[in-house]
Symmetry: C2
Subunit: 482 residues, 2 copies
């Protein structure tokens, strides 16, 4: 393992000339950066955004545009769903572990309705329409289940409610979200330097962060931050060295969610200035199997023929279980009545047999392993029961219509979509912390540059959700610094 | 989560008076610290060791005293075992993952025979006797299998050889090892301050480490290091805040291996001075089930009645699989002919039934789950086969002698012995690195203050093994610094 590019901080005394200055300097102009810029600008700060790409948007603009919001938003209410901050809190504390950070999860839930209103006030257009299929709506609906709320064990832990909110537009909703947020940041007075690659923090004699240096094309520049620097420059899934060093299992996934600017530069700059990092091994690992929803009737097994979990679980939970607990080797077993070819699996990924014994042999599984699993599953499913994982009745029936099939969903065969969840340790106000738990004066962060609400377990909308929420807080905290 | 005690570095310019000075200052006097002191002293350096306890030894003196050595040591040869550095390398790269650090594993294997001779030259007494039971010898034998070398899948990956070496003495071998090493360090001229608690590094204007400050009782002191500081102050299993923050799953285990000085102070001091940390979530999680060895004939299942892994695996692998992949909830299922009460399980941990169906009901397992698992296991075991996990034939037979029993080996019921494996990122020469991969001038480390050979998967003897090996290198590198 060799080192990653050098991001050691510069000392302020070494900076002969500042090319620009602002009260608050925001590094990265995705969702978290835009929200930081809006709030800092509205608080009266002069705000300068440094963005490496030609314009704002970042990975957020390439995303599905879902935000995980709840606790009783007007949209939830209008569509007939009861929710409470406490139920949202219980769900996230159970689903985002092991051991999510209550210090972040608590305010994220308690102020989620307020955050909803803030986004709507920015111009986020929502439609009072609910999408039933529990993944990102392909149409213009604005509310959906985006996690495992309806699924065991979470349905026993917290009252389920759909919390995936998105702007109303047919197709991907990330561009719409970012168009709204960038417009609001512009109206709040944020100045933007695009094509500007931040490389190092500038640190004062007392250890506080007072600026950023970097390059635009070949040209070096130094920007002074009078009140603070907010790092919102994404995660590190596109930094092969960092993935290998900190999160090697994530490197096995075929599809990286992000842009090549998700190279960890913000994490590296801050760490080199004394910032702590948390849970650097964690990642969202989505196995995008559905639609077609009929496949939830299938049975997910590992190489031993053992069932893995309830197949109606959120796709990020399916991928996580496969990669972290089953060596990335799983198969979805179906019968003829429950099969439809998923977009994510090539047709050659399907093995077929006229009986479970034949399919088992075809797969090279140990003799009897799959036969036992399916006999057990079918015997209970006939009674409407799933004693192992309590799959929802809607997807539960005995698989007894030959021919039988098995889709190879191993991590080297089909797309697992991955991005990193580890990063800087922040306070609930968005301040970056040292390993000792002290705030680094003048340094703030949000989004996937930080370790946020989801420590490992994931639900869709949590990255735009906590990025926007703590991005706002980071911008406000920086703007108000004396 | 609140912060941990403050370990921010002091600046050299703030130190008005140095109470002592040495070429090389070693912090912590366990196995890694003693080896650093020996090598630095032999290289001609004036060496000062700072130890918090009343004397040397640390967690190493409380340990079983096994060192993982191989590649063809004289003891392996004398006892008729062939081994090669390449076989040892293959085993460790497979067993110490995911993704062990080849940069450390390679030299550890290639120079293991040399390290053996060095230890013997220090006075480590060995007896040409092999202990057959694959755990720490209770008698005076000096060689044993201390990992999963004989077990699938490792037996297919590398030619098995026993690599657990220990000094010859009846009972625990840690005190003997430390007596030898402390004696050698004394002969090499190392001075020792005991009762001296190091608290912060002292850093020069150029960022290099030039000393340590701390306290002895209530009295503050400052010690200058002319060439370097070597941090060998153990892991962080006794720091509840750090465990909660970085390695929350490890906190579920009932027994912490170490002393209360394993509070992460060395890691914190270095991180506050710009050091990178690696794999902070990792730990050795040992489920000390054997002896009695007869229990390896049992079948380890999770709460779904699914079999977990080959029961003859190393106890650190059993504990790791249980805690990391099965929520810490596993049972060992036995029949009457294969049962003996283990020391680690209270008698009330045993459930009994006259048939598998009765035992299954007694455990509250889903109907048929355990019956299927045992029918499958017995059918194959009758033929001498274990198609799921290829348990060794010596431990494989159908379990068909009622009554049947199940020992509850869940993490909240029996002892899982745990210590941390995450820590500072070091170079193969023992230098502490920044997140950018640069050496921090004047700062070195070894032992469980560092992330070493075992990144997650463990075998007994790897901590004394890599602590002594890279401790020597750290001491030499520090002593030779201009």
């Amino acid at each position: 393992m060799s080192g990653v590019p050098e991001h050691l901080p510069r000392r302020a005394s070494e900076i002969a000339h500042w090319d620009d200055s602002a009260d608050v300097v925001v590094v990265g102009y995705g969702c978290a950066g835009a929200c930081a810029a809006i709030e800092a600008g509205r608080a009266g700060a002069d705000v300068l955004v440094l963005e490496r790409a030609g314009g704002g948007g970042g990975t957020s603009a390439n995303s599905g545009g879902l935000l995980y919001l709840g606790g009783g938003t007007p949209l939830q209410k209008a569509l007939g769903f009861d929710d409470e901050p406490e139920e949202m809190f219980r769900y996230l504390m159970a689903a985002c572990g092991p051991e999510p950070d209550e210090e972040l999860v608590r305010p994220y839930c308690e102020h989620s309705v307020e955050h909803f209103h803030w986004l709507v006030d920015c111009g986020w257009p929502l439609k009072e329409a609910f999408f039933t299929d529990a993944h990102e709506p392909p149409g213009d609906e604005s509310l959906t289940y985006s996690g495992s709320e309806l699924c065991w064990p979470f349905c026993d832990i917290a009252k389920p409610a759909p919390r995936g909110h998105c702007g109303t537009v047919v197709g991907p909703k990330g561009p719409l979200l970012m168009q709204i947020l960038l417009g609001a940041a512009d109206r709040a007075g944020a100045r933007v330097r695009s094509g500007a690659r931040a490389e190092r923090l500038v640190v004062g004699a007392d250890g506080s962060v007072v600026g950023v240096v970097g390059r635009s094309g070949g040209e070096a520049w130094a920007v002074r931050a009078r009140r603070g620097v907010v790092l919102t420059s994404g995660g590190f899934i596109y930094n092969r060295t960092m993935v290998e060093r900190y999160a090697p299992l994530l490197g096995r996934c075929l599809y990286k969610v992000g842009t090549e600017h998700d190279d960890g530069s913000g994490i590296q700059m801050a760490a080199a200035a004394g910032a702590a990092t948390l849970r650097m091994d964690a990642g969202d690992v989505t196995l995008p199997l559905f639609p077609p929803v009929v496949l939830k009737q299938g049975v997910l097994v590992n190489r031993l023929g053992q069932r893995v979990l309830n197949e109606d679980s959120y796709m990020g939970r399916l991928g996580e279980f496969s990669l972290l607990h089953h060596d990335g080797r799983v198969w979805l077993v179906v019968d003829d009545a429950g099969f439809a070819q998923p977009a994510n699996a090539p047709s050659q990924a399907l093995s077929v047999g006229e009986s479970w014994a034949e399919l088992e042999a075809e797969l090279g599984f140990p003799e009897g392993a799959l036969q036992d699993t399916m006999a057990f599953y079918n015997r209970h499913a006939t009674r409407g029961e799933d004693p192992l994982f309590r799959k929802q009745r809607a997807h539960l029936r005995p698989l007894d219509q030959p021919p039988y099939g098995a889709l190879d969903l191993s991590v080297d065969k089909v797309i697992y979509a991955v991005f990193t969840l580890g990063g800087l340790w922040i306070s609930p106000q968005g301040a970056v912390r040292t390993p000792s738990g002290e705030d680094i004066p003048g340094l703030y962060a949000a989004g996937r540059t930080t370790s946020g609400v989801a420590k490992q377990g994931y639900s869709s909308g949590l990255s735009l959700g906590d990025g926007s929420f703590f991005g706002r807080r980071a911008g406000r905290t920086a703007a108000r610094r004396p």
